[in-house]
């Protein structure tokens, strides 16, 4: 069975500081990994995903995540956060019972202090 763990429920950081949101997964099959972001009072939207190839994937707004097979991790990082990055971030992996679905982690709330 596949599962995903987000170790931090909340991460407070100061504006312009670096941030890392942690995600670990367990999987015995091919791995696809996703980070979705949910801004206040909105639906989720894809931030970035790993399918194959380069283990480092980047988003258009400065976030990046690295697929680490040996540590079964897919941590999300940004070198300098902005107030507008305030949101809930969900890591996700494919569902084990159906290829049509993905399983979300419990989420990490990123709060930015000015």
């Amino acid at each position: 069975a596949q599962s995903v763990t987000q170790l931090d429920s909340q991460v407070p950081v100061f504006e312009e500081a670096p941030v890392e949101l942690r995600c670990n997964y367990s999987s015995s099959v091919s791995v696809y990994l996703f980070w979705y972001v949910q801004y206040p009072n909105q639906g989720l939207q894809l931030l970035l995903k790993y399918l194959s190839g380069s283990t480092l994937v980047e988003s258009i707004n400065g976030f990046e995540a690295e697929f680490n097979k040996s540590q079964t991790s897919f941590h999300l990082r940004k070198p300098s956060v902005h107030i507008s990055d305030t949101a809930e971030y969900f890591c996700a992996v494919p569902g084990y019972s159906s290829a049509s679905k993905i399983i979300f982690g419990s989420g990490t709330r990123l709060s930015i202090r000015p």
């Binding site: 894809l46 995903k49 159906s98 049509s100 993905i102 979300f104 982690g105």
Partner: protein, 115 residues
Amino acid sequence: DAMVIQNPRYQVTQFGKPVTLSCSQTLNHNVMYWYQQKSSQAPKLLFHYYDKDFNNEADTPDNFQSRRPNTSFCFLDIRSPGLGDAAMYLCATSRDKAGEGETQYFGPGTRLLVL
């Protein structure tokens, strides 16, 4: 430019009074999903359609039903809402199977309040 549209954005209903939430998409995607999200929690999949094939999650209560009359529309029916059904309901679509790497596109959600 709206791709996944949910109506209404806010819905108030009475305990036990049936309610229907709607979702439409302009993406012509094969797969449509309904999620329930309670405060500070991850979205919980209720069911999904792959084209016309309906897939119910094992732990989705019988109180929740869904219809997909065509590619563009999908409805969530709650037959007898209870106080515990108050939540944000998210509709999402994907071109093909999300578990095979496809991106899911979410609507803005409908927040349901049960009085």
